[in-house]
């Protein structure tokens, strides 16, 4: 008899990750139909689930690395299959057990994260350089809020302004906040989805120890990915903090009357829901409330907003991998935004900032369209 899968150990890992619901999958194909990839190329999620059920996965396939973990399929699966967990298990089998090939770009980022604690491969001691001239204090015991900006705004010159805007807002409102020392490392959310479980465990442990020893009670983050892992994954490893996304934090300040936005911004702004803020954590209203509080701003909505929002393409480790032109979700979004006559695409995630900015530039729309994080818009409107 022919052996379908020579990797018994790997298939067991996958079956375990899929759990009972994977057995319930009745192969209806809703996941494939709902998956945004199929707008640009074929990606048969249903077939991968079927292969996973049978333990007959092709580990060498590009498909192992395709899923952006946007959760559109999981939210709709009539059988409750945790499709993202299955995808993660496939990747783990490749990355940790050494069957199949990890794409180059991802391998380099993983190496950077494991080595220096950030995917860009920048020196750890320069993590807080973005705030050098701002005189933000270091977090010490008793400081009310820890601001954790994510590696991208910390190091990427193009996204730095997101973190600097948060600092400016906090300074203006005299919020007692600080930055944690340069021993902080990447939150590990995306590298875990990319299959590097051990790396994630070590990053998480590092951060949990660091926060705990510093007496962090409340951490405000700019990235929904940090938010998700701090909120949903760190507690299992012993990290219990109050975690707030900047959108939640600012919305509550507006609600309490502490944050007043007075400068007019006479622009048409369309908000794109980040998957990890929206579908993964159900935060849809706060970013919109913030945008509506800016005088003069006209808020537009994509036809597929909120629960049906299209991913920027950067989740599940895809932010580090190359996506050929013609297959980029962010291009579709920018095109949609242009058709609606939007001046600004507002986001609330550093990955979204990266992807949309790339698309705006590569599509030659930089003259007419800007990409802004809501924190940047708030800082400008104060």
């Amino acid at each position: 008899m022919e052996v379908l899968s020579p990797y018994k150990e790997a298939t067991e890992v996958i079956l375990e990750a899929g759990g009972e619901p994977l057995k319930l999958c009745y192969q209806c194909g809703l996941c494939t139909g709902t998956c945004p990839w199929n707008m640009v190329r074929s990606f048969l999620v249903r077939r991968i689930m079927h292969e996973a059920q049978l333990g007959a996965v092709d580990f060498g396939s590009e498909d192992v690395w395709t899923c952006v973990t946007c959760k559109a399929c999981v939210d709709r699966c009539p059988r409750g299959v945790e499709i993202i967990d299955v995808m993660r298990a496939l990747r783990r089998a490749v990355a940790s057990l050494g069957i199949g090939v990890v794409p180059d770009a991802l391998r380099i980022s993983a190496k950077n994260i494991a080595g220096v604690g950030n995917p860009l491969g920048e020196p750890p001691e320069r993590r807080n350089d973005w705030a050098k001239d701002l005189k933000v204090k270091d977090f010490a015991k008793g400081t009310e809020v820890l601001y954790f900006p994510c590696c991208v705004p910390s190091y990427d010159p193009g996204v730095k302004n997101v973190a600097r805007s948060v600092a400016a807002i906090f300074d203006r409102l005299k919020i007692d906040y600080g930055l944690i020392g340069t021993e902080a490392k990447c939150c590990g959310e995306a590298i875990r989805k990319a299959g590097y479980e051990e790396t994630f465990q070590s990053l998480a442990q590092n951060n949990i120890d660091l926060f705990t020893s510093n007496g962090v009670k409340t951490v405000v983050v700019s990235s929904p990915h940090c938010y998700h892992t701090f909120k949903a994954e760190y507690p299992e490893l012993g990290g219990e903090f109050e975690v707030l996304h900047i959108a939640q934090y600012l919305a509550s300040l507006i609600d309490k009357g502490k944050l007043k936005l007075s400068k007019e911004l006479n622009k048409k702004v369309v908000y794109s829901d980040p998957c990890y803020l929206g579908r993964h954590n159900h935060i849809y209203d706060e970013p919109r409330e913030i945008l509506k509080a800016i005088p003069g701003l006209e808020l537009l909505e994509f036809p597929d907003a909120r629960e049906n929002g299209l991913c920027c393409g950067g989740g599940g480790g895809r932010i580090w991998m190359d996506t050929p032109k013609g297959e980029r979700f962010s291009d579709i979004r920018v095109e949609q935004a242009a058709e609606m006559g939007a001046d600004i695409i507002a986001v609330a995630c550093p990955y979204c900032v990266l992807n949309y900015t790339d698309s705006v530039l590569s599509m030659g729309k930089a003259e007419t369209m800007q990409v802004k994080d809501i924190a940047e818009l708030v800082a400008e409107a104060m």
Partner: protein
């Protein structure tokens, strides 16, 4: 044994769907007394909503209706529709059941189900029987074949104002009703509703003094509604030439109406609608009376008047113009030639000033001046004009003179502004047109030069003691004479009726020349002669004249049909809010000022006789109409239109819910199915994409009794779709929604695809399924037939999402064809979702019954094999969809089974044995 005694011979069936009806009929035929409780106003249930049934494609109603009628007429069945079970106590064999009979506000003993009330109701609500695609009224019949065939009023809360407008209106127009219709954009209906009580809506909407506005309760919290302005909206927004003619049964009676003013027209209209042959005699060359020759064209355009008179003529009224009764034809002859006479000659006689020089050319009488101007006769108009008087006629004269070219126009009035009888807004409008006002001044002599008027000597007045009218008497100031250089004077002092021709017949007249009538009936002192309008009251308002004409018409009809001529029941006085009500309304409704009607600017309008008031746009009209407090509530606004129309007088607004206690031995629960709320399944766009509908909506669209009379049309553009997609298991077999299979969707989708083809041969249907569950006799053959003969394709896929083609509103379905692994998109013209179905029983009813439900909400069965139709409470049985997902034949079979179990229970409890388990 009397029915219900100790409940030993009585059984309660809950739910009037096919299962409940079947169980009731079985038990009734066995000799039991059955109470059939149904919460909606009619029995019939879900099956009544369906167009056809599978697998025979029989008409659902054709099968169901005979059973519904049998249940209604069966001597052993008592229908308790519009009722709900509140509590069940006791035990099997002797249950005590409390049933709430909801107030229908219609006395069903009297209601004949004629539907006249429904036509008149101004409140339009989504029709639940049509899945809210169609509309119904606040008073309605549940569906055309409803059993019992009775109407109910959907009255949810008390009206928020006192509708004082209706009470204040001389003809008691249903103001809240037509305003509600305007708010809904239903202009044709609004016009018809106004015309019920007022044959000249567009005219009155321009010239009424609007006593309704004075009493409008909204005025107590901010500003009254612009009722008059709103009244012209329907005729501004809808072409009244399209108003259809009613069916009129002719009588052989003839009525002569003298005068074609508002009184005469109103009387003629009402009498013509009663079938009498009416001829109007009009002295002037054109009909309309004061509306034509007294009110200037810039306030009431002739075209508007002509249109509304035209409709009265279309009703069969013959108008003979240029015939002056008393000169061209005698009153006596009319009395002989006609069965009754109505006199509505108005008050067209002018009054003299009694001042020296009044006959000098250049001095004119006001009403004659307006008449001449209106009829286009040549009027010599000077440059400097004085108008004497302070009433509306004086204003009309002044503004008309202005339009005829007078450069300086001055109104000379002997009292002050505050005593002017003219409408303050009219005075203000005249001033905007450059009319001067000279108060406390009266003419004392007219001066001539070359036999032409050259000046007017005036005297100053001062105000003295109040006179008979209650106003201060103007007293001349000695030595204050001065001269105004004028070349034209128009004396608008007032009008009197010209009624001399009535004296020949001995009609009794007052000293002032007005006709004396019985105020209750409009009858004069001469039999068969009635009168109304200004000829009776002296100069008054249009709506009062209409009221006078209508009153007389009512009496004339009684007179002609041999009924006693009697007064109408007196109307109640307009009511104000109590302090509490006022405070409450103020809190609930933010102040909103009236929407002002646009006007032609003064500079432009004085150039000719164009209409000054420009009317509301549809949007402005709807905005103003939505200020009406009466329309703020859901459901019935108690405008009482139905009460007016209901011939058997069945409407009872004061009806209350009623409690009925029943004694029964057994209970059968057959409350049927509900439809699962699929709004959380956003990927299919239901509610967002117009051409994505549910299967039940599809059923209503194909049903002949549905909102489109059986035309399957798309919501976006009304087109008939030729390419329809069906998506199965929407909410069913879905762990996040309903885990179970709804059991009937594979078959009903196939049936619906066939129906679409039968409606429009060639229609292509595509059914997206996961497994075809054709579990039943001949079901597989049915599906094979669909493929072979009805152009139906089945694709195995659960689509992932639906987008819209913005060009044609077509839904685009994205799916993976799971048999080939191809990802495709499919553009359909309509998508039909197989919405999951749920048992229609909630915790409240289950608790009232004392029965348990399973985790999916179906009635729990203690033992699926041995007691499949029992519930967890002995003596209570269940059947149909509330028991478990199933189709109609299965429900009927189960119903007979449950009836058998109940009957068995009754006989065993009578003999004292326990029916449970072994027998």
């Amino acid at each position: 044994m009397s029915s219900g005694e100790n409940g030993r011979k009585s059984i309660l069936v809950i739910g009037g769907g096919i299962a409940g009806i079947q169980a009731s009929l079985d038990l009734a035929n066995m000799g039991f007394k059955v109470y059939l409780v149904e919460k909606s106003p009619s029995i019939g249930g879900r099956m009544a909503q369906l167009d056809k049934t599978f697998p025979t494609n029989d008409c659902a109603m054709c099968i169901l209706a005979p059973k519904m009628i049998e249940a209604n007429s069966h001597p052993n069945i008592e229908l308790l529709t519009y009722s709900e079970v509140e509590k069940v106590s006791g035990e099997k064999g002797k249950f005590k059941v409390r049933v709430k009979k909801k107030a229908s506000f219609v006395d069903w003993e009297k209601c004949t189900g004629c539907g006249l009330c429904v036509e008149g109701c101004p409140v339009i609500i989504g029709n639940e029987f049509d899945q809210e695609i169609g509309k119904r009224k606040a008073i309605y019949m549940y569906f055309p074949q409803a059993v019992p065939k009775k109407c109910v009023i959907d009255k949810r809360e008390e009206r928020l104002c006192k509708a004082a407008c209706i009470d204040a209106c001389p003809v008691h127009t249903n103001v809240p009703g037509y305003i509600k219709l305007i708010a809904e954009g239903q202009y044709q209906e609004a016009y018809k509703l106004i015309r019920e009580t007022n044959p000249l809506p567009a005219v009155v909407g321009r010239v009424c003094y609007a006593p309704c506005e004075d009493v409008c309760n909204r005025g107590e919290i901010d500003e009254p509604l612009c009722v008059r302005d709103l009244k012209r909206v329907p005729s501004d927004q809808w072409n009244i030439e399209q108003l259809e003619l009613p069916a009129i049964t002719k009588t052989d009676k003839r009525v002569a109406v003298i005068g074609s003013g508002p009184a005469g027209l109103a009387a003629a209209n009402d009498l013509a609608l009663k079938g009498h042959d009416v001829t109007i005699f009009e002295a002037l060359p054109e009909p309309g009376g004061m509306l034509r020759v007294g009110i200037p064209e810039y306030r009431l355009p002739n075209d508007i008047l002509r249109q509304e008179i035209g409709y009265i003529q279309k009703l069969g009224v013959d108008i003979k113009t240029g015939v002056r009764v008393g000169k061209d034809v005698t009153l006596d002859k009319l009395r002989k030639d006609y069965d009754a006479v109505f006199v509505g000659v108005g008050a067209h006689g002018g009054m003299r000033l009694g001042v020296e020089g009044e006959d000098i050319p250049g001095v004119m009488e006001g009403i004659a001046f307006l008449r001449a101007a209106s009829l286009g006769e040549k009027v010599s108009m000077g440059k400097r004009v004085a108008v004497i008087g302070g009433g509306n006629t004086a204003i009309d004269c002044a503004c008309t003179a202005r339009r005829l070219g007078a450069e300086e126009v001055t109104i000379v009035y002997r009292r002050t502004r505050s005593e002017m009888p003219a409408d303050a807004a009219e005075v203000e409008a005249a001033e905007k047109e450059g009319i001067e006002l000279e108060f406390l001044t009266a003419p004392s002599r007219f001066l001539a030069k070359n036999k032409q008027l050259a000046g007017m000597e005036c005297v100053r007045m001062e105000l003295g003691e109040p006179d008979a009218s209650g106003r201060p008497r103007p007293v001349p100031v000695k030595g204050s004479e001065f001269t105004m250089p004028v070349d034209t004077v128009i004396a608008a002092l007032g009008q009197v009726p010209e009624t001399d021709f009535l004296k020949d017949l001995g009609v009794s007249l007052s000293r002032r020349g007005t006709i004396e009538i019985d105020p209750a009936t409009g009858a004069t002192s001469v039999e068969g002669v009635f009168a109304g309008g200004d000829a009776v009251s002296g100069p008054a308002y249009v709506i009062d004249a209409i009221a006078g004409g209508k009153k007389a018409a009512r009496s004339i009809n009684q007179y002609l049909t041999g009924q006693p001529v009697e007064a109408e029941a007196p109307w109640k006085e307009p009511e104000e809010f109590t302090q509490e009500e006022k405070a409450d309304r103020k809190k609930r409704f933010p102040a909103a000022s009236r929407v002002k009607m646009r006007e032609e600017p003064a500079k432009k309008r004085v150039q000719d006789f164009r209409e000054v008031a420009l009317g509301y746009s549809g949007e402005e009209g709807r905005e103003e109409a939505s200020r009406c407090l009466a329309g703020q509530i859901e459901g019935c606004i108690e405008c009482r239109e139905c009460e007016r129309r209901c011939e058997p007088r069945a409407i009872v607004y004061t009806m209350k819910d009623k409690t009925i206690d029943l004694n029964v031995g057994a209970i059968i629960v057959a409350s049927g199915l509900g439809l699962y709320d699929i709004s959380s399944l956003t990927e299919y766009g239901y509610g967002r994409i117009k051409n994505v509908i549910t299967a039940m909506e599809f059923e209503r669209l194909t049903a002949a009794s549905g909102p489109t009379m059986g035309e399957l049309r798309r919501a976006s553009d009304g087109r008939i779709p030729e390419n329809i997609a069906f998506i199965q298991c929407v909410g069913s077999r879905d762990l996040r929604n309903k885990a179970y299979c709804s059991s009937v969707c594979c078959m009903h989708a196939t049936k619906e695809a066939m129906l679409a083809f039968e409606h429009h041969p060639g229609t292509r249907s595509t059914i997206f399924y996961m497994d075809m569950r054709a579990v039943g006799k001949r079901f597989q053959e049915y599906i094979a037939r669909a493929k072979k003969d009805y152009n139906v394709t089945y694709i195995r896929a659960r689509p992932g999402r639906i987008e819209v083609n913005p060009e044609n509103d077509n839904p685009i379905i994205w799916y993976e064809e799971t048999t080939t692994g191809e990802v495709k998109s499919f553009e359909a013209e309509m998508v039909v979702l197989a919405q999951a179905m749920v048992p229609q029983i909630d915790e409240v009813l289950a608790k009232a019954l004392g029965i348990e439900l399973d985790e999916e909400g179906f009635v729990k069965t203690p033992d699926k094999l041995l007691q499949p139709l029992d519930t967890t409470r002995p003596g209570i049985f269940a059947c149909g969809y509330v028991h478990s997902p199933r189709d109609i034949p299965d429900s009927v079979t189960q119903a007979s089974g449950a009836a058998g179990r109940a009957a068995e229970e009754m006989s065993s409890s009578r003999s004292g044995r326990d029916s449970q388990g072994g027998k």
